[in-house]
Symmetry: none
Subunit: 89 residues, 3 copies
């Protein structure tokens, strides 16, 4: 196997595995947060605005971990410095 | 095995595994969120509108992690820069 | 093994594995949601319409993750760009 194939296969497999595993925890964490927010709204309907605002800020922070994985995947696919070096003449 | 076969097999297998693993956590997280939303509506029927609105925003955030995996899968299948390079004459 | 066999085997196996793993979590998530919906309807029969509507929207969102896996499987079987390239003369 030549160098281009080896680097390419490693980049492709790592990109997919990174996004796949990186989406597990954010989805479960956001599910827990939304679930508890809805329980809190049912318990204290007068505070629905405060609860919603806090939920959205929290979801944005949790979502950022998935976005990190997405950014790393995009870099591996489209701006991979190892691939750029290995295909340079 | 030549370079085209190796890169192609890696892309196909990674695309499938990414979407398969990437669908696990969003589905469970959304199931938890919907489940708690229905319990909250039964507990506070007067707040059904607020609960539904918060649920839908939360579902959209959870769904986004599955969409990231879908985007990566589509890129691996149809816009794969490694495959484009390896089949270029 | 020639390139056609290798790409064909990878596509077939990945298509099956993707749909098989991708159906696990949506089924569990929808089961949780439906289960809680029935409990909520029993608790608040007057809100059956609201609960049903929220349940159906939630089920559609959960189902979408299974549909992503189905789409990827269909693409691997019928619109596989790697297979199209490897069998082109």
């Amino acid at each position: 196997m030549d160098a281009q194939s080896a680097i390419g296969i490693a980049s492709i497999v790592t990109a997919g595995i990174t996004m796949a595993i990186g989406s597990i925890a954010p989805a479960i964490g956001e599910g827990n947060a939304v679930s508890q927010a809805l329980r809190s709204i049912a318990q204290q309907p007068d505070e629905a605005n405060t609860i919603s605002r806090t939920l959205f800020v929290g979801l944005a922070m949790i979502e950022s971990t998935a976005i990190y994985c997405f950014v790393v995947t995009m870099i591996l696919l489209f701006a991979n410095p190892f691939w750029s070096w290995v295909i340079s003449p």
